[in-house]
Amino acid sequence: MHDFAQAFAQGLDLILSGDSDLWKVVLLSLKVSLTAVLISALIGMPLGALLAVKRFAGRSWLIVLVNALMGLPPVVVGLLVYMLLSRSGPLGVLQLLYTPAAMIIAQTILVLPIIAALTRQLVEDLEGEYSEQLRSFGVVGLRAVPTLLWEGRFGLSTILAAGFGRAIAEVGAVIIVGGNINHVTRVMTTTIALETSRGNLAMALALGGILILIAIGVNAVVTALGLTQRRVTNV
């Protein structure tokens, strides 16, 4: 019991004293996960919107596939990206294994389906609501996509937050493709796992605390946006 209390105290000290190892890990986590979310958003939102408004052969199958991919287990994604990037793999020449870039790729694969699938649902609902009015204005097909995305801006920010939550909390994929190398690919989750196994609870607790604060912070932002939305849309 006494040990735990001491670990908490030391953990707090690490945070407050601005321990450089700790903050490097936090910054790398943010960098990797935010980049993955950004890339996923740039691909996933247009893709989701396209799936929502375009009718083409195989569309239903694609929707089922994207929805199913939301539940990809991180370790499996880690394994697949590892095989892809390993020296004998198809992308081995790029020498990306055990770099932050590899971690970004893995997290993008995890987050992209979430953003695409949820955007598809959101835009499809909005299209049901707006399509006749937009058609009346002569805004049809793909031309409606920017309007629908903008009308769904509050929902989209929640979707981005969900994607970010998935990425920042994920450990299975980044530990495999990043290798958890000190000062290079160590992020919050992988460091927590490692330091806990080493018995360095102070570091693990400090990072765990920050991870929780980030999660709460993201939720607070989303809640605030929800309140704004109620003000703007009255629903």
């Binding site: 609501e129 707006y130 009015q133 009346s136 002569g138 805004v139 003000r231 703007v232 849309t233 629903v235």
Partner: protein, 242 residues
């Protein structure tokens, strides 16, 4: 002399429906052999629930294709607009809703600001310009939908029961707005259940029953001497006119 084809030639707002059928689930929901709407003053479409009034407006406005036959509004490229029963407003400010309509319908950039102010004024919404559109009262929302529909300066304006969800005051204000728009030279084609409104604004009545046009008569005649049995029983089931 060659046929006049300028955008402003008389009769440009004539609506012509020929051999129209709309079929769904093996049923003819609408069947109109020939309908010509060419009075400059408003035309009111009346009929019981499910008669196909909204369907007819949608078909005339080109939102859905007919199963058979054709619909022609004016010269084909004639500007037209529609206001729906429940206003579909964007999740933006009042002004942005109008601006959006101006932009997507290619109103020249330098004319937009002036047109926006005109339309805000016309709808009595100038003081509400910055307010989120969906926080307006029901009447204001419907007036916004109305003036927003005027963004492309339509020659023909279709209105689907625009007053059905409004209180008497809101309904009166919207009626005044519709009258103004009609007086300004826009051909109004309107579905309504408000017979008082139909009689005050309408010059002619198109009476629809089971997807068919049963009467197309001048307003006074329709209310005084309806020709069809269906119209007589329809009128007897509704409140007496003022």
């Amino acid at each position: 002399m060659s046929e006049a084809c300028g955008a402003d030639r008389p009769g440009d707002a004539t609506i012509r429906v020929r051999g129209l059928k709309f079929r769904s689930g093996g049923q003819d929901l609408l069947e109109i052999a020939d309908l010509k709407i060419d009075t400059p003053a408003p035309t009111m479409i009346l009929g019981p629930n499910g008669a196909g009034k909204s369907l007819l407006l949608r078909l005339m406005h080109g939102l859905i294709p007919p199963s058979e036959g054709s619909v022609r509004v004016g010269s084909g490229g004639t500007a037209q607009a529609m206001v729906f029963q429940a206003p579909i407003l964007l999740r933006r400010s009042v002004a942005s809703n109008i601006m959006y309509a101006l932009k997507v319908q290619h109103v020249a950039r330098k004319r937009r600001e002036g047109r926006l102010n005109e339309l805000l004024e016309l709808g009595g919404l100038a003081r509400r310009a910055r307010q989120p559109a969906r926080t307006l009262s029901g009447g204001e929302q419907q007036r916004l939908a109305m003036v927003r529909a005027l963004a492309n300066e339509p020659k023909v304006l279709f209105l689907d029961e625009p007053t059905s969800s409004l209180d008497p005051h809101g309904s009166q204000q919207l009626e005044a707005l519709i009258a103004k728009v009609a007086a300004g030279g826009t051909k109004v084609v309107m579905v309504t259940h408000d017979l008082g409104l139909a009689s005050r604004l309408g010059e002619e009545i198109v009476f629809l029953h089971h997807g068919q046009v049963r009467e197309q008569t001048p307003e006074a005649e329709f209310f005084e001497r309806p020709r069809s049995q269906e119209a007589r029983s329809f009128l007897s089931r509704h409140l007496v006119l003022p």
